[in-house]
């Protein structure tokens, strides 16, 4: 019953509707964007052309700076997220299932929160009037309340907050399937818990760590609201500039070219994680 080849049009008809939907509303938009990236900006939004001027604009110092900052920010936040999320997820998966479920519900709730809400929440938490600094003043650690947002640390913190639950969920399958006998065996042989964690758990899951780093990095590249709420204009990322070009400047071709570029970077990185996944399967 399962397997085999579908015969004739009748059996394939099931796929007709989803193929149509994905074709029209996903493939066509991407093709449009790709074509747009070669068009020329004009008074009527754009005119058809085939030129590389939009891509040539990448060579300006401003674009280079933006790209460099976007990559740096996404990378820094990814590293912090994984460093915190890996031990956290490991400890969580060692808990009884009932406790795990409670954590997972909470993690999912935080993950699903709108970037807008998280941005607003952190802006409030780091503000002068309602923020953490008030608590420090009350404790006598600080003279006067201070505003810690907007700024680079605030932005990095916000991005880690968004990236953390995502990292936990990316790491969760690999960590929850880790054979508990492995760390136990090393403990039995006399290793301290810390040593068994660093010498057994981490090396065994090296591929999972690397692929989660890349996944979170790509996820962070998409940050759009946080740089505007928690950062200053010089902290705007590529995502912000793409939207800015498309909506404020009505420069669709340049926005499209930037988006295509960002897509190529992301696809290359995602392909890299798939490669790591493959390797792991072969190793088993």
């Amino acid at each position: 019953m399962i397997g085999g080849k579908p015969k004739g049009l009748a059996q394939n008809a099931v796929l007709f509707y989803p193929a149509l939907m994905l074709g029209v509303f996903f493939v066509v938009p991407f093709a449009t964007m790709l074509a747009m990236s070669f068009f020329r900006k004009s008074d009527q939004l754009y005119e058809r052309a085939f030129e590389l001027t939009n891509y040539a604009q990448f060579l300006t110092a401003f674009f280079g700076k933006t790209l460099g900052f976007s990559l740096l920010l996404a990378g820094a936040a990814a590293v912090v997220s994984v460093i915190v999320a890996f031990p956290f997820t490991y400890l969580m998966t060692r808990q009884p299932r009932r406790v795990q479920v409670r954590w997972l519900v909470f993690i999912l709730a935080v993950l699903s929160l709108s970037e807008v809400i998280i941005g607003f929440a952190w802006a409030t938490l780091l503000s002068r009037t309602a923020g953490l600094s008030n608590v420090l003043v009350w404790l006598g650690l600080l003279g006067t309340p201070q505003a810690w947002s907007p700024g680079f640390p605030a932005l990095l913190l916000g991005l880690c907050y968004v990236g953390f639950p995502y990292t936990v969920l990316v790491l969760y399958p690999a960590l929850s399937r880790l054979d508990p006998e492995l760390p136990e065996a090393s403990r039995m042989l006399g290793a301290s818990p810390l040593r068994s964690f660093f010498d057994v758990v981490v090396p065994v899951l090296r591929n999972a760590i690397i692929s989660s780093l890349i996944m979170v990095f790509v996820f962070n590249l998409g940050a759009y609201v946080l740089p505007q709420v928690l950062g200053r204009p010089q902290h705007w990322t590529l995502s912000v500039h793409i939207t800015d070009q498309a909506i404020q400047n009505s420069n669709m071709p340049f926005a499209a070219a930037m988006a295509v570029f960002l897509m190529l970077v992301s696809v290359a990185l995602v392909a890299l994680t798939l490669l790591f996944g493959q390797e792991k399967r072969l190793a088993r």
């Binding site: 019953m1 399962i2 397997g3 080849k5 579908p6 099931v14 796929l15 989803p18 193929a19 939907m21 994905l22 509303f25 996903f26 938009p29 991407f30 964007m33 747009m36 939004l45 915190v84 031990p87 299932r97 479920v101 997972l104 519900v105 909470f106 999912l108 709730a109 699903s112 929160l113 709108s114 970037e115 807008v116 809400i117 607003f120 929440a121 952190w122 409030t124 938490l125 009037t129 309602a130 923020g131 953490l132 907050y161 969760y172 399958p173 929850s176 399937r177 818990p193 998409g222 759009y224 609201v225 793409i242 939207t243 498309a246 669709m252 499209a256 988006a259 960002l262 696809v267 995602v270």
Partner: protein, 277 residues
């Protein structure tokens, strides 16, 4: 000692994750129109304003319509693909599956821009063949865009559900003379139902919270709650924003709590199922 360290670490993570939510909840209770924490006075007036003022109500309505409809559309696209791939395992179904997962793997701004260009140009293409219809800035454009953007979630959960069906049941029913349609009706649908529902719930909650696609497709005409909050964020704070945030957190907790109550959440997220551990 070691146990203390572990608990300390988990506790610290919990505190950091909770801190902004607690502050927002506190701010939402302020009596006057100020962002103060700890709150001065106590008032539920901002929640009342959220539920009575016309412009907030309109955003709530838009967000709910979009989330309900787009999640339904997403499930309707995902289910046939997942079923077909499970039933036949042919290459072109796999390609379709890949297409469904793709938007989720890329930074959302890319998909959002693709949709923006598509809806703007779509109007023009249709007018060329004599059809005058408004697409850009319409609520159904947002609904379809969200459905495509979030199709990944039901696709993954439903596939997981199909994989969990014991092959022996299918073989037994085939031996006893059941055809595809009967098997689909009496085995596949009942067994996959919890996964259908959780796929729907994931898409629903994420659509409710989604900002950039909704903004690019119809941000100026169809104001969803996240767009409304972001706009208020730029043009002056009001504690109503904080009360919306609290409502969003509660909705997410309830939905995922329900999934956990009636389904196997760890398994949905990639752990082994209960029996195997």
């Amino acid at each position: 000692m070691n146990r203390i360290f572990k608990n300390l670490f988990m506790g610290a993570v919990l505190v950091v994750l909770l801190a902004p939510l607690v502050v927002v909840a506190g701010v939402s209770l302020n009596e006057k129109k100020q962002l103060l924490f700890p709150p001065r006075g106590f008032s539920l007036g901002w929640y009342q304003e959220l539920l009575t003022q016309a412009d907030w109500l309109r955003s709530i309505g838009n967000s709910l319509i979009i989330a309900v409809a787009s999640a339904l559309l997403a499930v309707s696209i995902a289910f046939p693909i997942a079923y077909f791939l499970w039933r036949y395992r042919v290459l072109y179904a796999r390609v379709l599956f890949g297409l469904g997962v793709a938007p989720f793997m890329l930074p959302p701004v890319i998909t959002a821009l693709g949709f923006l260009l598509f809806w703007v140009n779509g109007e023009f293409w249709l007018s060329q063949i004599g059809i005058q219809i408004r697409l850009f800035g319409q609520i159904y454009a947002t609904i379809i865009s969200h459905a495509i953007f979030f199709v990944t979630l039901p696709l993954v959960t439903i596939s997981l559900g199909l994989e969990s069906i014991d092959r022996q049941i299918i073989e037994a029913s085939t031996t006893m003379g059941a055809d595809d349609a009967t098997i689909f009706r009496t085995i596949v649908v009942p067994m996959v139902r919890p996964y259908l529902i959780s796929g729907y719930a994931f898409a629903f909650v994420l659509s409710l919270n989604e900002y950039i696609v909704a903004y690019m497709v119809a941000g100026f005409t169809v104001e969803t709650l996240p767009i409304k909050i972001f706009n208020s964020l730029r043009y002056g704070y009001t504690p109503v924003m904080a009360s919306v945030a609290v409502v969003f957190v509660l909705v997410a907790m309830i939905v995922f709590g329900l999934i956990a109550r009636f389904g196997d959440l760890p398994k949905l997220l990639g752990a082994w199922s209960q029996k195997e551990t």
